[in-house]
Every structure is written in structure tokens, then in C-alpha cells.
């Protein structure tokens, strides 16, 4: 029952506000975390068995009647579902202690699960318009979650995020309308087949440009990134972790990849545009991250830079490049989720996000400091952590595909990344303990547990990288590489 991935979080979300009236803390915590745990176990265990014989297309009945609820599960969607469940579970565990002082936990978890349902629905849908609908489900829930603290900053950031996100959605709908107008269909496979027949290169080009603007805004690629450094730091830490770790990738990178590689076919021109966007995002955002004092803002810029790596890898279009891009997507989801969660621990303990104000916190918060260090080194690409292997795959793929300049840029940005993460380590965790923080204590149990969980994953996947790649990443990359092979049409851009 693939539909459980969408319906279960929605049903639990529906009853959570009522449960929240009965029990203010325990029941909402328990229900939300149990749901996330179930989704993780179901995806990781049952999912692999389901797609053992190839992609599954399930048609679910509605009240006993045969209706068109069609969901497809293949290697790529299962890979995304597991990533969503992993980071989602860590963030919801973290929320148990972190969201304590925000109040209205039932409502918080309800919005959180609607966002998860939206992402899962997007990943499983087989048709362009459903992609748009679930994009909106996740987005509407995330606007409210960014503003959840109700402070001036949070509301302003949420408003800015809303305004730019609406523009993104408008571009996506416009592109879908163009495609529907030309092909008379919305289903991925039918559209791909119809586009092959149709010789309408210019109109496909217009639709592709609209999609790049829409999904580029969602993924916060430079030059569409202005909203992200405001929205992500202002949200509560577990929400920042999910937004940076998952949402920009699902509603930006996943949707773009699925449509460009599986439906339009990755033409050389499109591949060039994607690689260029990726490289520009990597460089510009890394330089902007260098100058940041606000810890979460620096992490937000780093997210833009790392999404650049993912898009660069996928944009190459070779099987190795796609595998590298997807592996980096997964690793960045874990590591950036971890970093945002630890920054939440620090913010809760000290009340500040200004790194100049911190100093020597490792002495007071050793677990947080170590997990943060693991996340930083992983994103910077230091062996043997997971981030190293995915960056290596991308760089090797770039060299193999004959793009040495992009490969050099990728290496240099990796050095820049290490630089700004080391600045963060030095300012926040090492050096002399700022006397203000003499009374600071380690984060509460669940917050620490969530960060340790993600840090262990970063280390474990780094050590067991080849089996991770062969069991999870390769099936996903194969789906996309087959898609590129199957639908690359003859229309020019």
C-alpha cells in the first residue's frame, strides 16, 4: 500500500490538534514520532521488497470504487522517501524537547506531518498536475511552520518566503499549462511519448525555461535564492533542518530532475544550463557564507552552495554524475539536518545565533560540539565521512564527461566550504570559553539523541559507502539514467 506514505501522516495530522487538547505533550510527541518511525521502517524494509521486480504502479480504490489514485514507486522515489523519513524522524525527535516552550505542540506536529505528506505525495505522483498540488501542500504547511515562533523576524521571513514561493508556483503552473496545451495529457509517460511525436522545440523550450525558474526558486539556486537565507534561519531549528535538508530538494531538485530527465529528456543545452546554474550557486553562495556571523544564516547559504553540487552532478547526465548528485543530495540532507539541529541546541542554550558572541562552547556542550563537527566535516567533504564520497563521485564524473573546469571549481568550492565551517568551529565551539556561558548545560536528552543519530549515520554511511551506493543510490540513478536514455528526443533548443 504505497498510498500509506501520503494518507497515514494526513490522518494522524487530522487527529493531532484534538489529541493536543487531551494531552498537551506526551500524546502528540508519541503519535508524531511513531508515525515518522513507521514511515521510515515501512520505506526501508517493505519498500525494497516492493520494487524488487521493477517500478510499481499502484491504483488505489476509494470507498470500494475504482478511481484514479495512481502512485508509482521506483528506485528514485523510494530513495527520496527514505531520505524524507530519516531526516523527518530526526527532526521530530528533536522537536520533543525543543518545541516545549513554543506551545501548541499538537498543532505544530499536525503542520509538520502535512508537510511530510506533501513531500511524500510529490515524490510518488505520476502526473504533472499532482506534482504541483503536492508542491503546494508542503509549501502551505511550511509557511506556517517558518512563522511558528510568531516573532517579528519569523513573520517577515515567512511573508518573504510566501511571496517568492507563490511566484515559483505560478511559473510551474504556467509550464504545466503549456505542456498540457500541447500534448493534451498530464501523465509523465504520456507526455514523454507525446513530446517525442510532436516537433515543437521552441514551445518545449519555453516550458523548460518556466520549469527552471519555478523549480530553481523552490531549490533556491542562484540567482533565485534571495528568500532562503531569511526563511531558513528564522524557522524553529527542526523546521530549518527539514526545509534545508529536505524541502528544497524535494520540491526543487526532485521535481526538476524527474521532469527534465524522465519526461523532457536531458538535451545537451538543458544539461549545460543546469550545470551552469549549479556551478554559479556553488561559488556565489560559498563566498556569501564566508562573511556570515549568524550561525543559521551561514548554514542557509551553505545549503544553496551544496544544492549547487547536487544540480551540477545531475546536470552532467551521465550515470556516474547522476549517482554522485543523488548521493550528495542524501548526504547533504543528513549533514545539514544535523547542523541545523545542533545550531538549535546552541541557540536554545545561549539565546544567540551570533558566532562572535559564542566561544569555547565545546567545554560546556561536548556532544553538541562533536556532532556539529561531524556534520561540518561531512559537508566540507573530509574523508572518510559520507560527504567526501559523494563529492568525489561528482568530481570523477565531471572529469570523465570532459568538464575539467567544472571539476576544478568543485574542488575549490570544497576548500572554501571547509574554510567557512572551520571558522564556525573556531568561533563557536573552540577557543576560550566566553564567561557568559559558564552556566550553559548540554542540550536535553531527545535533542542530543536526534543529533547523535544523524552524526552516526554520517559516519556509518561514510564507512559503508559502497554498500549504501549499491543498495539505495544506484537503483535511483539507474531509473534516471534509463529515463535520459529512453526519452532523449530529437527536438533542439
Amino acid at each position: 500500500m504505497i498510498i500509506l506514505f501520503v494518507v497515514l501522516p494526513l490522518v494522524v495530522a487530522g487527529i493531532l490538534p484534538l489529541v493536543g487538547k487531551l494531552s498537551r505533550r506526551v500524546l502528540p510527541d508519541l503519535l508524531a514520532n511513531a508515525t515518522m518511525l513507521f514511515l521510515l521502517v515501512y520505506g526501508a524494509v517493505a519498500g525494497r521488497a516492493l520494487i524488487a521486480g521493477g517500478p510499481v504502479l499502484q491504483q488505489s480504490p476509494w470507498l470500494g470504487e475504482a478511481v484514479n489514485i495512481r502512485l508509482a514507486l521506483d528506485g528514485f522515489s523510494l530513495f527520496m522517501l527514505v531520505a524524507i523519513a530519516l531526516v523527518g524522524l530526526a527532526a521530530s525527535l528533536f522537536s520533543i524537547d525543543y518545541m516545549e516552550h513554543y506551545g501548541a505542540k499538537g498543532n505544530y506536529y499536525a503542520l509538520y506531518l502535512v508537510m511530510i505528506a506533501g513531500m511524500n505525495g510529490l515524490v510518488l505522483s505520476t502526473d504533472l498536475f499532482s506534482v504541483y498540488i503536492f508542491l503546494e501542500v508542503a509549501a502551505v504547511a511550511s509557511y506556517a511552520l517558518v512563522a511558528y515562533g510568531l516573532g517579528r523576524d519569523e513573520l517577515e521571513a515567512a511573508f518573504k518566503y510566501l511571496m517568492l514561493s507563490v511566484v515559483a508556483s505560478a511559473f510551474v503552473v504556467a509550464a504545466i499549462a503549456v505542456i498540457f496545451g500541447m500534448t493534451g495529457s498530464l501523465d509523465f509517460a504520456a507526455v514523454a511519448a507525446a513530446l517525442k511525436e510532436l516537433n515543437a522545440g521552441a514551445v518545449v523550450g519555453v516550458a523548460a525555461a518556466f520549469f527552471i525558474m519555478g523549480f530553481g526558486l523552490k531549490a533556491a539556486l542562484v540567482p533565485f535564492h534571495a528568500w532562503l537565507p531569511d526563511a531558513h534561519p528564522s524557522a524553529p531549528a527542526p523546521i530549518s533542518a527539514v526545509l534545508s535538508g529536505l524541502l528544497i530538494k524535494v520540491s526543487g531538485v526532485y521535481a526538476m530532475t524527474r521532469i527534465f530527465l524522465g519526461v523532457f529528456g536531458l538535451t545537451p543545452a538543458l544539461s549545460g544550463v543546469l550545470m551552469l546554474l549549479g556551478a554559479v550557486s556553488m561559488v556565489v553562495a560559498a563566498l556569501l557564507a564566508l562573511g556570515q556571523k549568524d550561525m543559521k544564516r551561514m548554514l542557509a547559504y551553505s545549503s544553496i552552495s551544496q544544492v549547487g553540487y547536487v544540480v551540477l552532478g545531475i546536470g552532467i547526465g551521465t550515470p556516474l554524475g547522476i549517482a554522485g548528485g543523488l548521493f550528495h543530495l542524501f548526504n547533504h540532507a543528513l549533514a545539514k539536518g544535523l547542523l541545523f539541529l545542533t545550531s538549535g541546541s546552541v541557540q536554545q542554550a545561549t539565546g544567540t545565533r551570533d558566532m562572535d558572541d559564542m566561544g569555547g562552547l565545546a567545554k560546556r556542550m561536548p556532544v553538541t560540539a562533536v556532532t556539529n563537527l561531524v556534520g561540518s566535516l561531512s559537508i566540507a567533504g573530509v574523508p572518510p565521512l559520507n560527504g567526501f564520497w559523494s563529492k568525489l563521485l561528482i568530481i570523477v564524473a565531471l572529469v570523465q564527461a570532459g568538464h575539467p573546469v567544472f571539476a576544478v571549481i568543485a574542488v575549490l568550492v570544497s576548500v572554501l566550504t571547509l574554510w567557512y565551517y572551520l571558522i564556525m568551529q573556531r568561533k563557536a565551539f573552540f577557543g576560550k570559553l566566553n564567561e557568559k556561558w559558564a552556566a550553559v548545560k548540554e542540550a536535553p536528552f531527545w535533542m542530543t539523541a536526534a543529533t547523535v543519530f544523524l552524526a552516526l549515520l554520517c559516519v556509518g554511511i561514510g564507512i559503508l559507502f559502497s554498500s549504501t551506493v549499491s543498495t539505495w543510490v544506484q537503483p535511483a540513478a539507474d531509473v534516471l539514467a534509463d529515463g535520459v536514455h529512453a526519452v532523449t528526443g530529437s527536438w533542439g533548443f
Binding site: A13, I69, E136
Partner: protein, 160 residues
């Protein structure tokens, strides 16, 4: 053709007015007129269901909600309109009409005719059977909206 162009120009005119006007009440009414004209265009283009929804929900129901909310929170004092609107609006409008006249006619001929889709049938069949997954998505959007209102207008123990 002339009626169609006039309707399109009307949609753009009232949409722009809805953005430029500072008086929220006038702005809401402009939006309603724009969607009314859009509804008529839908009817004329053989999309009666889209027309019915556009007119009843967007022009009707949502406008009622807007006007209700505005009158509930309205202080009653006069709003001074921006002077920008006085010259930006006519300028924008003239540019639009010129582009429309020059470009649209030749462009319209180039758009391929809509291929008939697989998802045909009566309106009910398409909505309830053909697009059921979208209905699940819409339920989720409504849930998200309701929870957002509950969360953002909550009282008491809010974050400092």
C-alpha cells in the same frame, strides 16, 4: 475577436487595478471584476465548468470573504491613493494594448490545437474519478490552511 480582445484587456486592467489601489475594498472589487471577466472568457472558450467555478468561487465566494474581513477590520478613514498609480497605470495599459495588438494575433495562429486528452468524460467523472489524487492533495491543502490559522492565531504561551 473584438469582444475577446476587449475581455482580455479588461482582465488585465482590473488585475492591475487590484494591485495598485490602496483602498482594500476597491482592490477586492477590482479583483472580483477581473475574475468575472475571466469567467466569461472561459465560457466563450467552451470551458463552462471552469467558468462556473471562476465566477461562483473566485468572483463570488472569495470576494464576499474579502469584503467581510475588510469591513470587520476597517477603521473607516479615507485611504489616499498612490500618485504612482496615476501615471504607471495608463502607461502600463497603453504598452499592453500595443503589444497585444502587435504580437498576439500572429502568435495565436502558431499555438498547436489542443490534442484531445485521455482524461475525457463528464465533469463529474473527470473530477471524482480521473483526478482523485488531486482531491486528496486538496484536502491536505485545506488541512494545512486550517492548522496554519490555528497555529498563527494561538493565544497564551507563545515564544518570546
Amino acid at each position: 475577436m473584438i469582444l475577446q480582445t476587449a475581455l482580455l484587456i479588461g482582465v488585465v486592467l482590473f488585475s492591475v487595478l487590484a494591485i495598485l489601489l490602496r483602498d482594500l475594498l476597491k482592490s477586492a472589487v477590482s479583483l472580483a471584476v477581473a475574475s468575472l471577466l475571466l469567467g466569461i472568457i472561459f465560457f466563450r472558450m467552451n470551458a463552462p465548468y471552469a467558468g462556473v467555478f471562476e465566477i461562483s468561487v473566485v468572483a463570488g465566494l472569495i470576494t464576499v470573504l474579502f469584503i467581510l474581513t475588510i469591513t470587520l477590520v476597517h477603521k473607516g478613514d479615507e485611504v489616499r491613493e498612490s500618485r504612482l498609480a496615476n501615471w504607471v497605470f495608463p502607461l502600463f495599459f497603453v504598452i499592453f494594448v500595443v503589444i497585444d495588438a502587435l504580437v498576439m494575433k500572429s502568435l495565436l495562429g502558431k499555438i498547436p490545437a489542443l490534442a484531445s486528452g485521455a482524461e475525457t468524460g463528464t465533469f463529474g467523472e473527470v473530477l471524482w474519478k480521473g483526478r482523485t489524487l488531486d482531491l486528496v492533495g486538496q484536502i491536505a491543502v485545506i488541512l494545512a490552511g486550517v492548522f496554519a490559522v490555528l497555529a498563527l492565531f494561538r493565544k497564551g504561551d507563545k515564544h518570546e
